[in-house]
Symmetry: C2
Subunit: 100 residues, 2 copies
């Protein structure tokens, strides 16, 4: 069942673009691990936050991805730039009006 | 610029699946209006909430879609089933590690 993980990450002032750069670094590990969609972005009304939408083949695929060396390295790299504020939610996809 | 709208909708107890059914009703209006992705789902840990992830060609496309007759009709149909609790966020997509 497709699994969705949506998050907001608070960042230290001025580090937003650095965190976006880490999270959007091109690679094949995520797709190989079952990541279907991974969109990173920002909102100028909330300049110290980075937003992420992820879709995965399953919740297990998402969970397993957190152990990938490239992912743990990216987390370690970004961690000093984060404020600790976090939000978001996770859900199982039931469907879409765009497809049968 | 691709625009993301992510939301959580609180529902009246027992009406979750009814709201999912309304939001996933197959149609072409959203795609015609510039909707790129529209995923609806649930989380059994939070049984009175419906979650939605949307990607749009632009924030303007999203805004305009709220005036579509099919959308206003769906909102009117779902409204009595909602609790009024709402959450979520909006952002401009900066990129994805899955593509160049």
């Amino acid at each position: 069942m497709t699994f969705a993980n949506v998050g907001s990450l608070g960042v230290q002032p001025g580090r937003r673009d650095d965190v976006v750069a880490i999270l959007t670094r091109r690679g094949t590990d995520l797709a190989d691990a079952g990541c279907l969609l991974y969109e990173v972005g920002t909102n100028d009304d909330d300049p110290d936050t980075v937003f992420v939408i992820e879709l995965w083949e399953s919740a297990d695929a998402h969970r397993a991805s957190l152990q990938l060396p490239s992912v743990t390295a990216a987390i370690a790299e970004a961690m000093p730039m984060l404020s600790g504020a976090m939000g978001g939610f996770r859900f199982d996809v039931a469907g879409s009006p765009l497809r049968d």
